[in-house]
Symmetry: C2
Subunit: 643 residues, 2 copies
């Protein structure tokens, strides 16, 4: 965590100084906004936290509910989400608070007494071997609290406008704020009032019954619900020995997905209520809680639960649907998208793979920096078309995965070839639910994998998988990727060739080009009055051990002097670790390689250090040069160190 | 972290429900209080956080300053303190925020150019090998913030009364509230007003110039200052390569202790200003900051620092003094102590071993549960005499250690036998500054080491050194000691003999005795209307692996049903780990052993499970039986599980 950079900070360093719109932010919704977020769910609140890092953008979040979420909804937190929390600064707190999944156990009918269940397998949770982040269970309400805190503590000081319902919108063809949004106050002193807000962009994260989706005429496609599940958050006393372990139970009497929750007592149970008749007309949703509990006891036989408190319960019918496109641009048109869909507004499915909240958050993460870049003039509006292009296929994959998983979960025991089949599926497919299989295809922000072999462990289009390195300035073993905060900056990691700092090398030439060449991304795209690392955060990793790297001989690019005091940044220079060697762990070329990472942590490009033109070309396609002189930063950037 | 135990908690689980005095706690200082804490430093604020766990005790903290500490003061956080933070629930946050010490480097004169300094040694910080907690640097202000949060979020809802100065006290011989404390408002609307508050007990944490100490006539004994140091918190640009590593620099021109600080830029430097003449009369304290910076540059030669911001600076003279006794009871008397001294009020020394704040916090931790136990009627008043008896010798050891260390630090280079001498001392003595060498001697709360060989790794009188175990209910690898919160409860760890759960065993007999015998500590000392684990938190660790332990066969003692809902507590049953086996790591008897741990985490006793009488006798000396029937809990405690 870096702070004191703009002067001494006495209080909580997680509270950043207010700036721009965050200074004297009006409590009341203004008539014109840059971004209007509809809905304060996981996608919407991540987006708010992200845009709070762009304080010159006027962002508001409208939420129909009168206040924060209190109960229910999602609770599965995949490792990729914890990685994301890390970038927003609250991973360690939520890990301390959540249930950590160590095992998933499977139960089936006892072959000798089929009306009884027995444990058929214990499976280590996939997160144990997949990376440094755990697989958690914690109520969505708390995830939203943490994002709300990050949004409120960011320079933009964003807080949701509660009690405001979205009723419709019209996208006009002209104007600075072409989206006319109709709203109604449904709580608070202005309750009943209707009003209109003009927005540059609207992000709809308003749930499965999204009215934003309806307003832009998008269709939610896919199968109708055919199967009902009861869900309840309960505290109980029980003789079921796996009450505190995640379990899939496939009994003669039906199925349960059992999820222990944060705090040591509470659990969530998904209880199979069976197929829904065609003419049911949602009557199944009126199943009383007592019937759900009775069904759970039937399935758990010979074990029983004695329910002490039902914190929340619901009945839902599983559908698998995905929206055809995640923005308002008609197929074939290339106009700028003005309205986006995120989360359940564009993909709905069963809750049982624990994916919904996670994929939704990644929608928000994908959209946030793009809106930020466009609205601050860093990138062309065409960047916004990549949102739907990237996220719609991910949602489709999710739907396919969840359909398979939930069909397996709803099977009768005799439909399995072996009791191991469900456990095998769980382990075999673990990369997907971890959130690490998302693979973006080549586009203006994802390079072609021409030089992928130079960094085989950082696949282009996948999220940057961190590894341990040693920070040269203080000898601490740290995760290279954890230094990257969700601040909208691009990361460029220069993995050095074999020469030591101070010797002529490919790295040295590359660094000099980055710092001095008129066509380097820094010169072309960093505003003249901004810090040299305001847009590109460039770091180096040497092959030598940390004590062999002489800091003073490292190219000045990697030790810039920034901020109002022009202080040297000591945290951009790293060395391969004595334990995990990142060059081996990530199969990095010993001749040096440059890895470009997007603000949402996805690897955008892998290039040899010699191919500076290719690097320049890549960014020329993503970014808008700063006002002339285009190479204003050539020579020495305002606050860069000179050697 | 356990919660949802009293019903579903939607918000931050770190905010406990208000209770007792915490409900409608008056903003204004009342006329009568149970405990008056004077000073909101590390000892005082830990004490406040601890007493907030006893909401039936009326605790107030008066602080002369008008608000929270903003700048300066201590910054070294020893591993024992991080362990303590863990018990108060904020370790992971402060670790994320602080500077983590990986190395300490040593610099001396270049033999060839003695006016230049060169690095003579790199030493791994002792914390790296001493346990699971790091060695940190972070401003005292932040430590106080975290304790203030814990105090405010505890059931007692304690917040300091700022702007209130202590002017004197009188201990009367009679009355419920025998300490008459004189106070003056020095800030806020009542500024200038004087008033009197009657207290049962007063804890003086009011610093080196303690007026509480003066008021009870205690003497601060030891040598006068003979040596002056300048100290400054600065951001700089520099070519000194170890700016971000803790260093001891012994140059021809003088000495510097260099401490990197949180946030990546700021450092603290202690700069040797040399011996102070007898007739100096504190003039050295007026040394201007420019002279201190000039001196630093002289010492750092050939390197230089260009200071960009001085966040804080001071000049102090090193004295080593300790108060003869830490309470108001005259030597030889056995009356109940009414006034206690903590922290700098009773031990002052150099800042350079980074000990002051740490030892002060342990003063508060030692005193807190004792006041809590006496004021809630659990323990006799005689317990309070152990505070001075235990902490005064610790302070004396600290003074002795710091005198040696600061004399070494102030030596001229030619006075060392070898450049390694200082580094060797640092490594050799590392247990002490970690905070882990404190050893309490036998007393009413520290048993005789008659059976120490049954648990050699848990020395009686030392702090309980946690080790990894597997939680049976969910298979998570956890640290046994980290489950223990600073909630005033005693911990009793029963390490099982070789038999499995459900088989007849020494453990089983012991558990039955604990649960059913009229002379068991639970029966004698746990209030009838309280949870069975309200006073004694009893846990078991089996030798088998976690999946071999059948939860339902574990004695009911270890799976009690508690709280308003009578919910089973699943987190008292553990198994030896597949990685670290606690039985090996802590040299525990395979025939079973019972380890008793005090509320402040010190090992109180080690006994074989068969010696139930010895266990009963031990607690009979510390605690007061609950109102008759003394064995009200014999048979089944109100909410205990029955097998």
């Amino acid at each position: 965590m870096q702070f004191h950079h703009q002067g001494y900070v006495s209080g909580d360093p997680r509270v950043l100084p207010a700036a721009g719109e965050g200074i004297d932010r009006p409590a009341d919704l203004p008539d014109e906004v840059d971004v209007l977020v509809v809905g304060s769910g996981p996608a919407g609140m991540l987006l708010a936290a992200q845009l709070s890092q762009y304080p010159d953008i006027r962002t508001r979040v409208v939420e129909q509910r009168a206040g924060r979420l209190v109960l229910g909804q999602a609770d599965g937190i995949q490792p990729r989400s914890v990685e994301t929390f890390q970038a927003f600064g609250f991973a360690e707190r939520i890990v301390a608070e959540a249930y950590n999944i160590a095992y998933m156990n499977f139960w089936g009918p006892d072959p000798e007494n089929p009306q009884n269940i027995v444990r058929t397998s214990r499976t280590e949770d996939y997160a144990k071997h997949i990376g440094e982040f755990p697989h958690l269970i914690v109520n969505q309400a708390r995830v939203l609290d943490y994002f709300a805190e990050a949004a409120a503590n960011g320079p933009g000081r964003i807080v949701p406008d509660y009690g405001v319902e979205f009723t419709g919108l019209t996208v006009h063809e002209e104007g600075e704020h072409p989206v006319e949004v109709r709203l109604r106050y449904v709580a608070g002193p202005r309750k009943g009032e209707e009003r209109t807000v003009q927005a540059k962009y609207v992000a709809g994260g308003d749930g499965a019954k999204s009215r934003v989706r309806d307003a832009i005429g998008r269709k939610h496609l896919g199968e109708f619900a055919r199967h009902a599940w009861g869900v309840m958050d309960v505290t109980v006393n029980t003789d079921f020995p796996d009450w505190r372990i995640k379990c899939a139970i496939n009994a003669e009497a039906g199925n349960i997905l059992h999820i222990p929750r944060e705090g040591g007592y509470l659990c969530r149970m998904y209880i199979d209520l069976g197929p829904v008749a065609d003419d049911d007309n949602h009557r199944v949703r009126e199943t009383p809680i007592d019937a759900i509990i009775a069904k759970a006891n039937e399935i758990l036989h010979p074990y029983t639960i004695e329910v002490k408190q039902v914190a929340w319960s619901s009945v839902y019918e599983v559908g698998h649907r995905v929206t055809d496109k995640f923005d308002d641009v008609p197929e074939g048109s290339d106009r700028t998208p003005r309205v986006f869909l995120m989360g359940d507004a564009c993909h709905t499915h069963s809750a049982k793979a624990g994916q919904g909240m996670n994929v939704s958050m990644q929608d928000g993460f994908n959209l946030g920096w793009k809106l930020g870049s466009v609205l601050t003039g860093r990138s062309p509006e065409s960047l916004l078309a990549t949102y739907s292009a990237e996220r719609q296929p991910v949602a489709q994959e999710l739907i396919d995965f969840d359909r398979e998983w939930s069909q397996l979960m709803a099977r009768k025991p005799e439909e399995f070839e072996s009791p191991q089949e469900l456990a095998d599926f769980y382990v075999r497919t673990s990369d997907f639910p971890s959130g690490f299989l998302t693979q973006y295809t080549p586009s203006m922000i994802t390079g072609e994998a021409v030089h992928q072999e130079l960094a085989a462990g950082f696949p282009i289009g996948r999220r940057f998988k961190s590894a341990e390195v040693v920070r040269v300035c203080d000898g601490n073993v740290v995760h290279l990727g954890h230094h990257a905060r969700a601040d909208g900056r691009w990361r460029i990691y220069a993995f050095a060739d074999a020469a030591a700092a101070g010797e002529a090398s490919a790295l040295d030439s590359w660094a000099q080009w980055m710092q001095d060449a008129p066509n380097s991304p820094i010169a072309r795209f960093t505003p003249q009055d901004a810090d040299v690392d305001a847009v590109f955060d460039v770091k180096v990793v040497y092959q030598q051990t940390y004590d062999e790297v002489e800091f003073a001989k490292v190219p000045p690019l990697f030790r810039p002097q920034t901020g109002p005091l022009g202080l040297t940044d000591w945290e951009k220079v790293y060395a391969a670790g004595p334990g995990e060697d990142i060059f081996e762990a990530r199969e990095l070329s010993r001749s040096g390689v440059v890895v470009v990472v997007r603000p949402d942590q996805y690897v955008a490009h892998v290039l040899p250090p010699e191919q500076t033109d290719a690097l320049a070309d890549f960014f020329a396609g993503v970014m808008i040069p700063v006002p002339s002189p285009a190479n204003a930063r050539s020579g020495a950037p305002k606050t860069a160190a000179t050697s």
